[in-house]
């Protein structure tokens, strides 16, 4: 069952975007496709939240954007990670692991 946007933990979308972008410059469409592929269709990002999130991250200086040619030769806006974004990704990743670890700990102990 695909998980819709509203079910995503707040801040998770930012983490996912940063992680995908960390793999190399990519445009908005590419990001949504990759999240879907990598999560094996579990996570589907609504464009309605993807683009505001991208622009928010860009404004914060975690992403840098540049216009370039897509693989089929069209003009597309490519996002890549800034130095600041890389730090942010590292800290959010470790936060996530701590949180996930804690949650699963509770689930195991309490069952």
């Amino acid at each position: 069952m695909p998980i819709e946007k509203s079910d995503l933990l707040q801040g998770t979308l930012d983490l996912l975007i940063l992680k995908i972008v960390a793999l190399g410059p990519v445009h908005g469409y590419g990001i949504s496709q990759r999240i879907r592929q990598i999560s094996k269709e579990v996570l589907q990002v609504q464009q309605g939240s993807l683009y505001p999130a991208l622009h928010r991250l860009e404004k914060r200086g975690w992403l840098e954007a540049e216009w370039g040619q897509s693989s089929n030769g069209r003009e597309a806006k490519f996002y890549k990670l800034s130095a600041k974004g890389r730090k942010q990704l590292a800290s959010e990743e470790s936060n996530w692991h701590r949180l996930a670890g804690a949650v699963s700990q509770i689930l195991q102990t309490a069952s």
Binding site: Y29, Q47, Y51
Partner: protein, 888 residues
Amino acid sequence: MSWWKFLLPKRASGTQLDSEMRFHIDELTEANIARGMPPSEARRRALLEFGGQEQVKEEVRDVYRVRVIDGTVANLKSAIRFIRKTPSFSVAVILTLALGIGANSAVFSAIDAILLRPLPFPDGDQLMKLTEYDSKAQASQPFIAPLRVEDWNRLNSTCQAVAGYYIENASEISGVLPEKLTLAIVTPRFLNLLGISPELGRDFNSEEEHFGGPNAVLISDRLWHRRFAADPEVIGKRVVLSGFLRPDLIVGVLPASFRFPDSDVDLWTVGPPDGPYAQNRGYTWYRVIARLRAGVTLEQARANLNAVQSQLGKQYPKTDGNLTIEVRPLKETIVAGARSSLWMLFGAVSLLLLIACTNIVALLLARGVQRQHEISVRLSLGASRFTVVCQLLTESFVLALTGALLGLFIAGAASNVFRSLAKELPRVEEIHLDVRIVLYTLACSVLATLLCGLLPAIRGTRGNLSGTLAQASRSQVSARTPLQWFLVGVQVALAVTLLSGAGLLLRSFQELGRVFPGFDPGHVLTFRISGSYGETVDWKALTQRIDRTIEELRSVPGVEAAAASATLPGVPTNYPTELRFVEGEQDPLRKMVAESRFVTPDYFATMHIPLLAGEVCREPQFGTVPSTLSPTGQILEPISINVLVNRSFAETFPGGSTILGRHVQVLDNSFLKPDEAGEIRGVVGDAREEGVNHPPSPTVYWCLGAPGGPDPAYLVRTGVDPTAMASALRSKIKQIEPARSVFDVMPLEEHVNDAFSENRLRAILLTFFALTAVSLACIGLYGTLSYSVTVRRREVGLRLALGALQGQIVRRFLLQGLAVTFLGCAAGWGLAAGFTRVLSGMLYGVSPSDIVTLSTVALLMLLVAALAALIPSLRAAHVDPMQVLREE
């Protein structure tokens, strides 16, 4: 990426976002086509999957919107709405702040112009004043010999230039009546040193700076307008001055802003340093200024100039041996006297502003209680506390800003009043409102916002939301308002502080009025008659002229006595001189320092100073002495000088009855020949010559025919109102001295009062501020008590219904108000102890902790507070119990 995209603003422009989304939809469409859909269906599905494009755009735009500005604009709008909805409240707040900020800005504008700004000359901070210190006489000498000025200028290495000036009065006689003008005689370099060039024409040229060269004058902008109607062709015209020095040709007009050395100087002329009269190192007349070289400190200049002077001391041990040079910033010497008064007033207006703010805090707190419901609703609807505090602060800010703008007008008006009241203050003509004052006023309004708004805003937004919402205010029995009462107490305390200061200053005046000065200033008219120092070449002729003038004045009907004196009695002037007795043993350890006064023999009869022993002095005889100044090699000089001493002198310096007939000699010889001495002919009563607020010091009266030079002050005792005699006396002088002008015509009493004009100014202003403070505190008390009565109406109604008497209710509220006032007074006494210490140098005859003044102030405050508290208390007693209970 194309280079020009750098030029675009960083935010996503609409077209960029459009193409970004278009690309996404196109990619989706192609993916669908790849899956085998027909193109139109593929596009439809892609659009569907992407969702609402407008919504995305809106959300992206939200990312870039600057929320702060939007929030502020919304806050401002709501603040203005709030102010318009509550006009009387807002007007009260705005007016209170306008008064507080206006008074503050007005005093600040004076402080800024007088104390903070550099003098109105280029690099004014490099300008220094130089004086001599005579280590033998242990006295500072403001006047410097022209030769020494030239030596200092030539030999030092730390100053760009050293120059001198002195002022004398001159008569300009080309008009119908002789006009008295003020003439400044300056050394070469004077204008250059100050960094000023003439508005019109030129500075003096080198020919004019030499003895025997053409006489030239620079005129003031005032004189140019007054006498020459601002004629651009004025250069080359002439002014005709009576007397020996005759500077004639107008070579330039100085700018209107140039008022140095004094604001009433009309003419500047150059005194040639090579003139024969300027070749004596003992003849001192210039006041001296210097401009430091760039980067030179005061200490370096002091060290360097003193090295120069000690070298001169070796060269001329007799005249220069004991001298050192004192260097002080010129600005300091001009403004130092006004400093303590100005800061005291600034402290007072700051307290006033604080009281105004406290008053407003109380008002806002009361209002906050009324708005609690509104605020709770907003908080429960999800507004953050920060947002609500911001909104409340914006309201305060709009109020404060409006108040500040209004205050700026008040400050403008107030500084005009200040300028006319405070004519005696230095640089007072430089006070005006400018950008700095506007900025200061704005800063005041921001400060006032924080002072007034922060506490009510924080308090208004705290507490239990649901509680407030659920609770109907009507079920409350009584509201506690301890914070408001505390604020009232603070206002009372601050008002009592100011009132104590004002009370002490007023008491000082009262004390001064009671002092018997030792002379009788009533019914005496004073004036001067112009004369030139050139006349001092022939002292005998000068003496005869002044004698004749006094004789003629005495012959005018209605005149009882007439005399001349170098200085006016009761107007602060000091001339300490070190003396020694010619006869008898001297106590080598005891220095004999006394004030010197120069008077004609009739002075004592005219001023009603009693002769206690001996006889009245006589004018000196004249004898011929050799002199290099005269072409004949001889001049007439006064010999066999008489002196009178006052009682303090006779008591301080031993001699008793034998003091009569002894001779005194001046040690640091500046006005007598070294071997000359004055014979003590008598002892007179003590008079407060140096100012009514100074106890008399030992004084020697030198009886001279021409006391203090060619234009002494004439003192005429009249039988009737002295001002009524002015024209009769003037026309008499016109008869005998048609080429001389009469000026400074004023009753002596006014001179004596004017000596206290600065004291009077600060007493008036402080009293005004204190009364304003008391009114504000009473308004605060009245408002808080009224509010308390309104809130407790139901409680009062219940009490009355249960049998309480109206008198009890009144007493209850009244006592509450008075208790707070009393505590405020007590705290105010504590504060006053600190504040009045600042005043201690300005008081006369009262101690800063004068118990009579402090008690009177507290009583006055309690009385006024009782009146302010009575009205709301009475209203409380007239609550109708039935009506209140029915409201339930």
